[in-house]
């Protein structure tokens, strides 16, 4: 394991992005976390314990699956994908959560809090809390609570308290603010399990560190299965944790092109999207400096994506920096392209992708036909799509599903 993923210009900074912009009350807490994270990385046993927990609890290593039917259908590059959808709780989120849970144990914390948008990170955190014996509070925008009831149900069954947040847009960013406020008061007993590679230092570094298990495995699997590294790697980008987890172990191989796919929503020109990279508006919010979707006076804008996990105002400072240096190329996929990509993957390969991950597929599907068959494309399938049954059924307009919902509703 490469212990140091990044060359810091100054601590916690990636080029001009990153830092820690938090109220002074949280400074000591972040210092405590930095010290614990540094000590864990320096401990030979820690990474091994982390990997063992994921191997025995969460199906790691997840496979790299060749996609011959999709390859044939598109008629270009040879396509395969990394199966983060096979993780316990159905997405890559569990990697980071288990890692931070082990860290929270080392810090003798008794309670964890987390924000969640779609609910995946909330469910993963509640699962970890149940297993490790932490008290758990999940903050979730009230809008998201209403549209993600199944996840709320499971979090509560797992013993977590789910707090709906009515402030602002009542979505993910507001849940993050609520976590920072809780933490300002509860830090003595509580660890904040931030779910993505955003927020104040050390979170971007720490989340990328835990998620880098994805790319480390994928690298070895590609060498074994294909005899070489892939030519292009695609990942969807919300906050950026699955993308960084996949990309970081390939960063020092310039022959591997890294492609981040943001949420194009209804199209960039519509203004209803969550693509932070193209406008290149630097700002500071939620504890860190990065590219935000904001207006001229620095107020955060409403974002939109069919995939709740991509529907966020900011992007990892590490990815903002890698966009500036050109090491990661960014593109965006619209809602309709993501849904079409999901349908194609389901039909050709029998794999149901999350709508978030479908954006990575949409990006690859657009470009793969113009590549040669001897070129290899690796896509990070960051999560499974069962959670999206309501959204996908809605988009497809499946009448029998609607009548089933009506019947279930009528029974109560």
């Amino acid at each position: 394991m490469t212990q140091e993923l990044f060359d810091f210009t100054k601590p916690g900074y990636y080029g001009q992005y990153g830092g820690a912009f938090v109220p002074e009350i949280l400074r000591a807490t972040l210092d405590e976390l930095i010290a614990a994270f540094d000590a864990a990385r320096a401990d030979d046993q820690f990474w091994g314990a982390y990997v063992r927990e994921l191997q025995t609890y969460s199906c790691r290593p997840t496979p790299v699956t060749p996609l011959p039917n999709l390859t044939k259908k598109l008629g270009g590059a040879t396509i395969c994908c990394k199966r983060e959808d096979l993780n316990h709780t159905g997405a890559h989120k569990v990697n980071n959560v288990i890692g931070q849970g082990l860290l929270a144990k080392r810090m003798n914390k008794t309670r964890v809090i987390a924000e969640t948008g779609a609910g995946q990170h909330g469910v993963a955190t509640a699962t970890m809390a149940a297993r490790f014996g932490f008290e758990c509070t999940i903050y979730m925008g009230a809008v998201d609570v209403r549209r993600q009831r199944p996840n709320v149900f499971w979090m509560e069954q797992l013993g977590a308290t789910v707090v709906p947040i009515e402030d602002g847009s009542a979505t993910l960013k507001d849940a993050i603010n609520a976590c920072l406020r809780d933490w300002s008061e509860s830090m003595d007993s509580t660890h904040y399990v931030l779910g993505t590679a955003c927020g104040p230092h050390p979170f971007p570094h720490m989340v990328s560190y835990f998620q880098s298990i994805i790319g480390q495995e994928a690298r070895g699997q590609m060498l074994t299965q294909s005899g070489r590294l892939p030519d292009r790697v695609y990942a969807c980008v919300g906050g950026g944790s699955n993308a960084l987890g996949m990309f970081v172990p390939f960063i020092k191989n310039p022959e591997v092109e890294l492609v981040g796919v943001e949420a194009g929503g209804h199209g960039i020109e519509s203004g209803r999207h969550a693509a932070r990279i193209p406008a290149h508006d630097i700002g500071v919010a939620q504890g860190y400096k990065t590219l935000f979707l904001q207006d001229d006076e620095g107020q955060m804008r409403e974002t939109h994506s069919v995939a709740a996990g991509l529907d966020y105002i900011g992007v990892s400072p590490i990815l903002a920096h890698l966009a500036d240096t050109g090491r990661v190329r960014f593109t965006a996929a619209r809602d309709d392209e993501a849904i079409a990509a999901a349908k194609l993957l389901i039909a050709t390969e029998g794999i149901i992708p999350a709508l978030e991950s479908s954006h990575a597929f949409a990006g690859a599907i657009r470009e793969a036909p113009s590549m040669r068959p001897d070129e290899i494309v690796l896509i990070n399938l960051s999560g499974r799509g069962d959670k999206d049954i309501f959204t996908i059924a809605d988009a497809i307009g499946d009448e029998r599903w609607f009548s089933y919902l009506r019947e279930m509703g009528a029974r109560r």
Binding site: A20, F21, P23, E24, I25, A28, S184, A285, E297
Partner: protein, 259 residues
């Protein structure tokens, strides 16, 4: 006279000073003017005017609502600076800007300092900007004669406070407890010990904020800190009983500085 000297000079005549607060645009600009009228009548000693921001992480529920409702009502930087300069021109007390860092960052440090000075401001409070992230803002604020207010908190180490004190001007904003603005604080022995610790770290005046709500609180803090900061408690009075309740509450707290 610099801000610290103004405070010391006034403090020599009063047991404690009072700093009040308003979120510009909440509940309305007109309401802000009436609050400011009340502050002038009550002869408060300092006032901070908050520029609304969409992600107010250091604020509790009441101020979060105030920030977001102000923005929903169309609050803009233009309106903020207009009310700021109008207030600085008519009020006898020094006026400080309180904002989140993105507002100053998006304006640019130089433009922010020039605008603040040009509007008659005496300093600024930015709760999400730690000193090590100031960059040239420290030098620019000094050049513009603006006091950059630093924070001491219950979790700050002595070493940390000494470092913050080096960059502090005007006074130090002392946080009474963990958490965010707007909920109660016990004014007990633990708090007095904390204040004694803060006192050892700087010669600047100390202002205590977070949870100061009543005239009794002010009386108990007399001689213990230099400035009592009251925000949420007054806004709560406005929400409950409008201008009359606000004036009554403010007058009572202002009088508690002496009796």
């Amino acid at each position: 006279m610099n801000l610290a000297d103004y405070i010391r000079e006034r403090r020599a005549r009063r047991g404690i000073l009072l700093m009040t607060h308003a979120v510009v645009g909440y509940p309305s600009l007109e309401a802000n003017r009436r609050m400011l009228d009340a502050m002038i009548s009550a002869d408060v000693d300092l006032v901070e005017l908050q520029l609304p921001f969409s992600e107010p992480v250091a604020d509790g529920p009441l101020f979060v609502k105030a920030n977001l409702d102000a923005l929903a009502g169309g609050a803009s930087h233009g309106q903020y600076w207009n009310l700021f300069s109008e207030t600085a021109a008519r009020a006898p007390f020094p006026v400080l800007a309180m904002c989140y860092y993105n507002s100053a960052f998006r304006m640019g440090h130089a433009a922010f300092c020039e605008r603040l000075r040009g509007s008659g401001g005496r300093g600024f409070i930015i709760p999400d900007l730690p000193r090590e992230e100031y960059g040239d803002l420290e030098a620019l604020s000094a050049e513009n004669g603006l006091a950059a207010i630093q924070f001491f908190t219950p979790t700050s180490t002595d070493e940390r406070m000494m470092r913050l004190a080096q960059g502090a001007r005007g006074f130090v904003y002392c946080v009474a407890r963990r958490g965010v603005t707007g909920s109660a604080t016990e004014l007990d022995r633990g708090l007095y010990d904390l204040l004694a610790r803060y006192r050892r770290m700087t010669d600047l005046p100390l202002a205590l904020g977070f949870g100061i709500a009543s005239a009794d609180d002010i009386r108990r803090l007399r001689g213990v800190v230099d400035i009592a900061i009251v925000g949420s408690a007054l806004l709560r009075s406005w929400e409950r009983g409008g201008e009359d309740a606000y004036r009554a509450h403010l007058t009572e707290m202002a009088q508690a500085r002496y009796s």
